[in-house]
């Protein structure tokens, strides 16, 4: 198969970027999208030019490193699929395909197709955890957890932190990411003591990092490669409401769970 690619090229964080048109020849339909880019890059390297920078690691849909907007869609056209698991047989021979990085104020572009998602780590550092010191835990079966709760926690915990939800959202909101973590830990008895503090701190960090508000467009759920449900957002809003009404933590006036 052959394709015409429109690749976003940008030297660094501050330089302006633009599309570069590149031909991809002799692509096997069994190649993944990233393997196709590997081929294109190898051709560039052979020709003495600099390959397009993009990120990937596991290449099996679990690490959340890959992050490309393909034809305007984060992770491309397949539902519930990361771009590393998208295969070229999905495209038409001769098709023109545009490839861009995540775009969001809170995810500055470092180069070409690589965006900086450190803001997600900052949000987790603000409260996305259970404070339990190593060695202090009681027996694991000491506290039964209803299977239903454990399953819901796991559904939320499946988030791979890729940021597609932010890239898909017209407001570049990180609500689905934050809600998934709040919901994961909030569904477990171990997560209760810090429940209020957690949601308030995470939301306030999210606002501070420059993510937008949620206006219930649900583009995030559609783009999420793990199909995390927006129901978690509703749940988080309830938690946030309770915490800000009765919680001991001060909530920043301008912030909000959207």
């Amino acid at each position: 198969m052959n394709f015409k690619l429109r690749l976003w090229r940008q030297k660094d964080r501050t330089s302006p970027g633009s599309f570069q048109e590149v031909e991809a020849h002799g692509i096997s339909p069994d190649m993944s999208f990233l393997e196709m880019l590997d081929e294109v890059n190898n051709d560039m390297i052979r020709a003495g030019s600099e390959p397009v920078a993009f990120e990937s690691d596991c290449r099996e849909g679990i690490c959340g490193t890959c992050s490309l907007v393909v034809e305007g869609l984060p992770h491309g056209p397949d539902k519930g699929t990361t771009v590393c698991q998208l295969f070229m047989r999905r495209f038409l021979d001769g098709q023109t395909i545009s490839v861009e990085p995540w775009r969001a104020k809170a995810f500055p572009i470092l180069k070409d197709l690589v965006a900086d998602r450190a803001a997600f780590d900052d949000i987790i550092a603000a409260g996305g955890f259970i404070s339990a010191k190593t060695g202090s835990a009681p027996d694991a079966n000491g506290l039964p957890v209803p299977k239903k709760d454990a399953d819901t926690a796991m559904d939320a915990a499946a988030c791979i932190g890729c940021g597609a939800c932010v890239a898909a959202c017209p407001n570049a909101s990180a609500m689905l990411f934050v809600a998934a973590k709040v919901s994961h830990l909030g569904h477990l008895p171990q997560g209760q003591p810090e429940r209020e503090r957690r949601v308030v701190r995470m939301v306030s960090k999210m606002d501070e990092a420059g993510f937008g508000n949620c206006s219930n467009r649900y583009e995030c759920e559609a783009a999420c490669p793990k199909e995390i449900s927006v129901e978690h957002i509703a749940r988080m809003n309830r938690d946030y409401g309770v915490s800000s009404l009765f919680g001991s933590e001060r909530v920043r006036a301008e912030g909000g769970a959207g």
């Binding site: 030297k11 660094d12 096997s28 069994d30 190649m31 993944s32 990233l34 590997d38 081929e39 890059n41 190898n42 560039m44 390297i45 052979r46 003495g48 600099e50 390959p51 920078a53 993009f54 990120e55 690691d57 596991c58 099996e60 679990i62 690490c63 959340g64 490193t65 698991q85 295969f87 180069k111 690589v114 900086d116 998602r117 450190a118 997600f120 780590d121 987790i124 550092a125 996305g128 955890f129 259970i130 190593t134 060695g135 835990a137 694991a140 079966n141 506290l143 039964p144 957890v145 299977k147 454990a150 926690a153 796991m154 915990a157 499946a158 791979i160 994961h184 477990l188 171990q190 997560g191």
Partner: protein, 637 residues
């Protein structure tokens, strides 16, 4: 070089506990004054950084990824072992210890394995406290499954994403410490060298992968938790970024490399589809519980699988191993798949795969039940191969999956360089010559949460460490070396991308240093690899500059290290003239063509000392003694 394993005295079951009491402690007020570097933030590194920070040490953590949550540990699917005996099926610390020593084919240290089995219990407690959503039964208690041929159910799991959930638990603890200012996190940094001051590890050199700047970091101790080197084969189930760079550069500075030829080949992976392929995907081992493995009886039989009548199918595992059948251990399953393919019986376009057929299970249990159990995996398989495994048998082939070899460490997890500690898959670890399923996650977390957080204190409290700053000449020299290496890569200006050399190296290793090896093949590989290396240094193309984000340079740097390391692997394999664990040495087999271990000559850890890139390394041996588990040949007939 002296290999002192520092195994504490006393009865096997009391060693770790007694040792804990005898260790020197760092005064709580002084912990803050000790700066500790942790390179790698996978399960081993993140758990180490978090627990050391909780204890009060001043921790600096480094990863080449953009976030600790991306480490390769995230990809582990199946589960983590612990001797909790919740199902009441007769498990115990002793049984887990015994199974692991035997599973490793008697090439691991008993004392380490026993400690691992003891700690396994605490790991589960701690992970649950951190909010790891392990699978549960309706009564709310934790569910267990049996895994990798174990006779008891001791594997804890979180759907097919156990590694992800364990890593997120460790990552969240780590980020909590970052938030509290106890850990300084350095992401997108690749470690290029370890810095020795007066023979003691006192820092590292890293490259900032965004700006290209080289940085010097000093510390009182350095911990490497940089993962395994399976990518040396190019094709493997490992993530694209897995590398040997950190371990190899430490080796070049004096850390012995132990058992580099001990790699694990996993039997159930999606087969290679073409030269473009960048990685192989694991299909969970659990599939062998319901799938039957077969090939046509006659070579060259190209009929579609349904058209091949039952009598003309060769269910080779069931026929050869009637009592274990399709559930033989990984090494046996892998080797047999290779054998039938080598005999021309393999299926698929390349002839390099065997069927894993679910039609009997679907008939027996119904498609719905199979979908419930394996739906995700079937879906993934379909996506990759464009074939529907509910209708046609899956095709599978073994792939490199894990590396048991690694930097040599003593009982304290310290390498032969004082102050340099190595955790997780990066060390030569507790798995001997073959790792059992669900035990890598256990070891990574044991090392990180529970072992190093104690033994490091002992090291710091019993060593006098003069103050060192990054102005020291040793830092300047190491930085200079790292820069020279980068400049050399950029200066070749050939026209071949690094990946092509990587693929060539991988093919040589897979062919001659993979599941089955023989002297002639290994000797051939020993000639081939230096040739590929020379070709690399004459013709590699690394475009772009050293001063910014440059993926071509990152890749070339890793390939350059693999090209040196691969040779050591082959040399180790050549020297170990026995079959053991995952390694079938063709000259060492029983009359029934089963692997034959040679305890008389090879009951030792082979630890290699670096002497120069083109000069022969020196072999040191750490003898292994088995006091608790008696040496026996494994048999699965």
């Amino acid at each position: 070089m002296i290999l002192d394993s520092k195994i504490p005295p006393g009865a096997m079951a009391d060693k770790w506990t007694d040792y804990g009491f005898n260790m020197k402690l760092v005064n709580p007020a002084n912990k803050r004054k000790h700066k500790v570097i942790v390179v790698g933030t996978g399960l081993a590194g993140a758990s180490a950084a978090a627990s050391l920070a909780e204890k009060g040490y001043n921790v600096h953590a480094f990863t080449f990824q953009d976030s600790p949550r991306r480490a390769h540990s995230i990809a582990a699917q199946g589960g983590i072992n612990a001797a909790k005996n919740y199902p009441g099926d007769g498990d115990s610390i002793h049984r887990l210890f015994y199974d692991t020593v035997k599973g490793g084919d008697f090439r691991a240290r008993e004392a380490n394995v026993h400690r691992l089995a003891e700690i396994s219990l605490k790991i589960i407690d701690h992970c649950v406290a951190l909010g790891v959503p392990f699978a549960r039964e309706y009564g709310g208690l934790l569910d267990n499954r049996s895994f990798g041929g174990a006779q008891v159910s001791r594997t804890f799991y979180a759907r097919g994403q156990t590694g992800q959930q364990l890593l997120l638990g460790a990552y969240q603890s780590l980020m909590r410490q970052v938030g509290e200012g106890q850990v300084k996190l350095h992401t997108r940094r690749e470690m290029l060298d370890v810095v020795l001051v007066d023979g003691v590890a006192r820092g590292i050199i890293v490259r900032d992968l965004v700006t290209g700047r080289l940085e010097r970091h000093e510390a009182d101790a350095v911990i490497l938790a940089t993962g395994g080197y399976g990518r040396v084969f190019y094709l493997s189930t490992n993530a694209a970024g897995c590398n040997v760079t950190a371990a190899w550069r430490a080796h070049k500075r004096g850390a012995a490399f132990a058992n580099p030829c001990f790699t694990q080949i996993h039997p159930t992976c999606v087969p290679v589809a073409g030269d473009h392929q960048s990685k192989l995907t694991l299909m969970s081992e659990s599939l062998r519980n319901d799938g039957r493995v077969w090939v046509p009886r006659t070579a060259g039989d190209k009929r579609p699988p349904h058209d091949i009548p039952e009598a003309e199918r060769f269910y080779f595992l069931e026929e050869k191993y009637p009592s274990f059948g399709n559930l033989v251990p990984r090494d046996v399953a892998s080797r047999n798949a290779k054998q039938v393919c080598d005999a021309g019986l393999g299926v698929g376009e390349s002839g390099l795969s065997v069927y894993l057929d679910f039609s009997d299970a679907i008939k027996r249990l119904g498609e719905g039940k199979i979908r419930e159990k394996y739906g995700n995996l079937f879906h993934m398989y379909d996506k990759i191969t464009d074939e529907n495994p509910y209708q046609v048998p899956m095709r599978i082939y073994p792939a490199v999956h894990y590396t048991m070899g690694g930097l040599w460490v003593d009982y304290n997890l310290m390498s032969t360089i004082p102050g340099l500690h190595v955790l997780g898959e990066a060390n030569f670890s507790d798995h001997g010559a073959n790792r059992l399923g669900a035990s890598a996650l256990m070891q990574g977390l044991a090392d990180g949460y529970f072992v190093i957080s104690q033994t490091l204190g002992h090291y710091l409290a019993s060593t006098s460490l003069p103050k060192v700053t990054t102005d020291h000449a040793a830092f300047a020299e190491a930085e200079h070396d790292a820069k020279a290496h980068i400049d050399r890569l950029l200066a070749v200006k050939g026209n071949v991308p690094a990946v092509e050399f990587h693929r060539r190296l991988g093919k040589v290793l897979w062919e001659h240093c993979g599941m089955a090896r023989n002297e002639a093949g290994l000797k051939l590989a020993l000639q081939e690899i230096p040739k590929i290396r020379a070709d690399f240094w004459n013709n590699v193309s690394v475009t772009g500059a050293g001063g910014d984000l440059n993926i071509a340079l990152e890749e070339a740097g890793r390939v350059a290290d693999f090209l040196e390391f691969g040779e050591l692997m082959v040399r180790d394999a050549l020297t170990r003239k026995e079959s053991c664990g995952g390694h079938f040495r063709e000259e060492s087999q029983t009359p029934e063509n089963e692997a034959l271990r040679d305890d008389e000559n090879f009951c030792h850890v082979a630890a290699w000392e670096f002497t120069g890139v083109d000069s022969e390394p020196i072999l040191h041996k750490e003898p292994l003694a088995f006091e608790e588990v008696h040496l026996t040949q494994r048999s699965y007939k």
